[in-house]
Symmetry: C2
Subunit: 268 residues, 2 copies
Amino acid sequence: MPPPTNTRVANSTEASPGAGSGSSSAAAPVGPSFSPLYRQIKALIIASLQAGEWRAGEGIPSEVELAARFGVSQGTVRKAIDELAAENLVVRRQGKGTFVATHAEQQQQYRFLRLTPDEGQEPGLGRQLLDCRRQRAPAWIAHQLNMRTGDAMVEVRRLLHSKGKPVVLDDIWLPGRLFGGLTAERLSQHRGPFYGLFETEFGVHMIRAQERIRAVAADAESAALLQVEVGAPLLGVERLSFTYGDVPVELRRGLYNTSTHFYRNDLN
Amino acid sequence: MPPPTNTRVANSTEASPGAGSGSSSAAAPVGPSFSPLYRQIKALIIASLQAGEWRAGEGIPSEVELAARFGVSQGTVRKAIDELAAENLVVRRQGKGTFVATHAEQQQQYRFLRLTPDEGQEPGLGRQLLDCRRQRAPAWIAHQLNMRTGDAMVEVRRLLHSKGKPVVLDDIWLPGRLFGGLTAERLSQHRGPFYGLFETEFGVHMIRAQERIRAVAADAESAALLQVEVGAPLLGVERLSFTYGDVPVELRRGLYNTSTHFYRNDLN
DNA sequence: GAGTGGTCTAGACCACCAC
DNA sequence: TGGTGGTCTAGACCACTCA
């Protein structure tokens, strides 16, 4: 059976990777930057994700449907989606379909927060908004967020409490161009983690993040807010979060009081 | 085509999972603990790995060979190996074969060490062995290493230096039964990371680990060793490492001076 | 019962490597 | 040139979900 006549994916160097059945595609040497069909399909799906073709919580087309759309076999689409699922961009549910990963509805945890109490289960951290203002980005922030110094930026400061005691002091910086109507009221009214709000209100999905962790001594201000002594050791966590396409969209600086909690990490 | 007559994998509940081609396997309801064929294959391969059937650096049988041995299709073996590769138990190399993952020869980094210098590349950390002795395990260590209090245990203390300055102070505890001939001489003579020695000399592979991180203040002893002031903030990293079958085989307590380095973590 | 993802198979061809 | 992993296809059946 010859390959169907349709919109087939073209490789950057006009290569037609090892296709099975048909007698199509004779030679075509492989260029320097070759990527297999399923990766191209994956990139197309990501593009649709990014473009918001399918909204947050609910499903993307079925595998057969996507296979037909892209003119490939279901197996190829499957492998593409496998990778997307492995990267948490998408969630598969047998018998139901494949869904755009969301961190809005699920009241689980704070997406990237790796803090665990020494004893018992975390009953959910309380949030306390301290500040939210629009600023001009200083150089060191602008640089990390792919902005220019002086660009518009939203600055948020908040506390997280566990059993009434402050545990985390967060400073958050966001590009102004992406978070237009973000105000203190908007933030304080919202229930659930910020990342949920970012998805539903601003269409910004946090895909991955990288953190830099140090031990620091509490200064006067943070000591007061976290109710510890000046000079007490705190975990300083600097987090840079990315959306689709490895675009940085959030910078955080957190100070964690690790006297009753610890930062957990699994290494493979 | 009926399935080949051979040593076929049997599921725990006598279930014959969705096989394709043949007209074999009529009903067979699925039991409570069902696992697909490729996972059973994976388990068999892990068993061989654990048994040391194939030694560290070099290859395991080819996919076709394994498929024949287990009486399944190459695709099923492939999927099993895919997972093993994803878990870093095994490394695939196109055109060459699949190899048991090793952390001995590769003089890369320290397997699980997530420490990065603020500037430049790490030129390799210098090691300084401070102590190595056999002890009886106290309760809190025995508990984490699946031992009984008072069991034999090897205790190691060492420093890691960067550019001549101490950065990491590690205390390491190992079950005595697994590390029989481990002595200070053996450790100091060895080149490269401990985990390499553990593999080649004792056949112990570290597969994964979990860390608990806190900010702590330097006490007198660690301050002296790390050349910082008493009370200086340090990163306290407690690491429990596991071999095949989630068996804990090493406990570490590290103190990191994060004034010129940071702990990096990637979140997905 | 229809639809969706999950598993398994068989066979084709490609890219890489070593001899 | 032959072997190994890598990609792609086509088709079968299974398990799960929901109307």
